[in-house]
């Protein structure tokens, strides 16, 4: 082989390697399964979706397992909640993934919190003496279907930008999802109308958006400060408050230890309602099914039955 031919062959090989292969699907990786469910709802058959965390897992403390970096290595779009929820584990994975498409600032990195009307944004100076505060605002907004819809719209726009050929399909999927979710939301709000104005106790500050949507009042948290486990004197105070205000239920995610919560619930007495931290996307659950399941649990709680 003559040198020029060899050079041409090497160039051709490099071009082949560098050119991204024609692919039908956009490979989407999300940090939380709720985001995965929303991405699947608007992406439909044009996207492959994978969530890094499980719905049963505390999103603050996910292990940066190397296989998650492998998923990010192959991703075209990474969707995160933001607001420092994933700060303890996502940055390591993003650097380790060796994929410049999904780094901060690239079109393949989408922070969902930008589409949300944020709550509990500190207006005064904060430090860690207040516990695990999120200086950008409360990141647990996916319990509120109205915020989830705003996020779904943001995801659809970004998918249309990354994959313009299927932009129409994404818009159509979004329209379908919007109709379904709004219809379901009207039904949920009707079923939980009795919760409006009711006093409720929560474990962690995860209920801000839920109470904003459903109108209940979170009168106390079992954690004395976000991320600090309950201690006896604080728990005694919460119990007294719960009795005095006649708390209707106690809300907590299944990834927190339940002993204290069960004790307080039985002493008030009020039902302990366990919330699934997210959509069980791995098992094929949709976002609407997930919220519906949560609404059922809250309904049962209103009827005095715990879960």
């Amino acid at each position: 082989m003559r040198p020029t031919q060899l050079f041409a062959a090497v160039c051709a090989a490099l071009t082949l390697f560098a050119a991204s292969p024609a692919r039908a699907d956009v490979n989407v990786v999300t940090t939380l399964p709720d985001l995965a469910a929303l991405a699947k709802a608007v992406g439909g058959k044009h996207v492959q979706v994978q969530a890094l965390a499980l719905s049963s897992q505390d999103p603050h403390f996910v292990d940066a397992k190397p296989n998650l970096a492998l998923a990010l290595n192959r991703a075209d779009l990474l969707i995160a909640v933001g607001l420092e929820l994933e700060v303890g584990w996502l940055p390591t994975l993003q650097v380790g993934a060796r994929n410049s498409k999904i780094l901060v600032g690239a079109p393949g990195y989408l922070v969902a919190s930008q589409f949300v009307k944020l709550l509990e944004v500190p207006t005064v100076q904060v430090d860690r003496g207040q516990g695990d505060v999120h200086p950008g605002g409360n990141p647990h907004f996916l319990y509120d279907p109205r915020q989830a819809l705003a996020v779904a719209k943001g995801i659809a726009d970004r998918l249309a930008q990354l994959d313009p050929e299927n932009a129409e399909a994404y818009r159509a999927n979004l329209a379908t999802f919007t109709t379904e979710l709004e219809k379901a939301r009207a039904d949920w709000e009707k079923r939980l109308a009795a919760l409006r104005g009711q006093p409720v106790i929560a474990y962690h500050r995860t209920t801000a958006y839920l109470s904003d949507w459903l109108g209940f009042e979170t009168i106390a948290y079992l954690e004395p400060k976000p991320g600090i486990p309950p201690n006896p004197s604080h728990v005694a105070g919460v119990l007294a408050q719960g009795r005095q205000r006649k708390a209707r239920m106690l809300l907590m995610e299944s990834y927190y230890p339940d002993t204290t919560a069960r004790l307080v619930a039985s002493k008030i007495p009020a039902p302990l309602v366990t919330l699934h931290g997210g959509t069980d996307f791995k098992a094929g659950e949709t976002y609407i099914q997930h919220i519906n399941e949560m609404v059922e649990r809250l309904e049962k709680g209103l009827a005095g039955k715990g879960t």
Partner: protein, 451 residues
């Protein structure tokens, strides 16, 4: 081979690497898309296919643009163009205060490790540079950890350690962000990724002190040096990372089994330390993970011309965290690492074996307990005879140490740890006992944890 031809070979390697690195950064630039705050217009999106003529036109245009901008480029590289740092009005922005849509140019955090310790031995055999070493209060370290994205192509990380009598650059390196073919390069001063514990800092350890194997083989600071590392993520269905690095082989506390405190002139690549490792990860289930690594390091030692030291290691990390079970915050880890060292010395080859195995159990969200066993054999010569080890002349018998501790984390930013150990060195008359109470405080940016 004489000295001159070795130098020539080194130069050839360096020269042949340069265009490759440049080509790869050019490739990396090619697919780079505009930042997300400048929304891509749909008509800007590339049509599915371009003709070769069109591609050629684009390349020509880019070529002439590049030469034009070269003429306009500032003559020095000391100051970046002011437009390169939009919004950087106040120098650094403090992390955590500016999230949401804020700028974040530098993540800073300070980690303080202090301990109170008591030893029964007059001269405790603590080999780690950050270990408590004497009765009373010990400043283990004050670590300033800095991290930032430099530009679309590099990230910078640094760990600067303050001790009572000085400041030390433990690590300061750049990591590439946009190399093609799943490659990543680190360059600067860094801890080599030999095994599992060597590349880590005290903040992520399960014990107050470092396994003595690391101090014995690599030195108190762990194996590190100025150099460069290339790592590759294999395109396989499971996680396989292959890496190789070349680092400076000197340093009493960082490359003890290699050139150590001697400072010989580097005359060929063989005068540097070469490290290679393969790391594999197996997610056995959502709750159980296994990581397995194989490592090797080779480099010159100062006992004679062309004498070399080789270290081989393997490490296993098992992690059980039942995230699929409701109300369960248990975490159980098992970690073990074994090192086999071979040193050429005048007229003989010394070999020895070191290992540690540890298990930790976090039984409540704030409490954990851990147990560690360590073993280090005496160096033996080729015939199996015990030879006086030039690095540790007193190490004539096996040494083993058992440590047990309990840890309490008020939050993830603070830690209290009480540790007891029994250290049995065969060459000492009796075992030594120790007790340590260590406090760690982390302030500043919330660092991300590696697996």
């Amino acid at each position: 081979m004489d000295t001159r031809s070795r130098a020539v070979r080194g130069a050839v390697i360096a020269v042949s690497l340069t265009p490759w690195l440049m080509a790869s950064s050019a490739l990396a630039q090619a697919p780079a898309a505009p930042p997300s705050d400048a929304p891509v217009q749909e008509e800007e999106a590339a049509p599915p296919s371009l003709t070769p003529e069109e591609l050629k036109e684009i390349e020509d245009a880019l070529g002439s643009d590049a030469s034009a901008s070269q003429q306009r480029a500032p003559s020095g590289t000391a100051t970046p163009p002011p437009s390169a740092i939009p919004g950087a009005t106040g120098g650094i922005s403090l992390p955590g205060m500016n999230t949401g849509a804020g700028a974040n140019f530098l993540d800073l955090s300070f980690i303080l490790d202090v301990a109170a310790a008591a030893f029964t031995d007059k001269e405790p055999m603590q080999s780690g540079a950050h270990d408590p070493t004497r009765n009373g209060f010990n400043l283990q370290q004050l670590e300033l950890s800095i991290g930032s994205v430099v530009d679309p192509y590099f990230r910078f990380d640094g760990n600067i350690v303050f001790s009572q009598f000085g400041v030390e650059i433990e690590e300061a390196y750049g990591t590439t962000l946009a190399l093609p073919y799943n490659l990543q390069v680190r360059a600067g001063q860094f801890l080599t990724r030999f095994g599992r514990i060597n590349p880590t800092h005290p903040h992520s350890w399960d014990f107050v002190d470092q396994p003595f194997a690391v101090g014995r083989i690599f030195g108190g600071e762990g194996n590190r040096g100025l150099g460069t590392e290339v790592s590759w993520l294999a395109p396989l269905p499971w996680y396989v990372e292959v890496l190789g690095s070349i680092t400076d082989a000197t340093g009493e506390a960082t490359a003890r089994s290699f050139l150590g405190a001697t400072s010989e002139r580097v005359q060929s690549p063989l005068d540097l330390q070469a490290t290679g490792a393969v790391k594999q990860f197996f997610p056995l289930s959502d709750d159980l993970s296994l990581m397995w690594g194989l490592s090797t390091a080779t480099g010159p030692n100062p006992t004679g011309h062309r004498n070399r030291t080789d270290v081989f290691g393997t490490d296993i990390y098992l992690r059980y965290r039942p995230v699929t079970q409701a109300y369960n915050t248990t975490l159980i880890t098992f970690q073990t690492e074994a090192y086999y060292r071979r040193r050429q010395v005048p007229g003989d080859v010394l070999t020895d074996f070191n290992l540690y195995a540890q298990t930790a159990w976090r039984f409540s969200p704030r409490w954990a307990t851990a147990l560690r066993y360590e073993l280090g054999t005496a160096a033996r010569g080729e015939g199996g005879a015990r030879i006086t080890d030039p690095l540790d002349p007193e190490w004539t018998e096996s040494r083993n140490r058992v440590s047990v501790n309990a840890t309490f984390w008020p939050t993830e930013f603070s830690r209290l740890r009480l540790q007891a150990a029994r250290d049995r060195a065969g060459w000492r008359d009796e075992a030594g006992y120790s007790l340590m109470l260590a406090l760690e405080l982390v302030t500043g940016a919330h660092g991300a944890h590696a697996f």
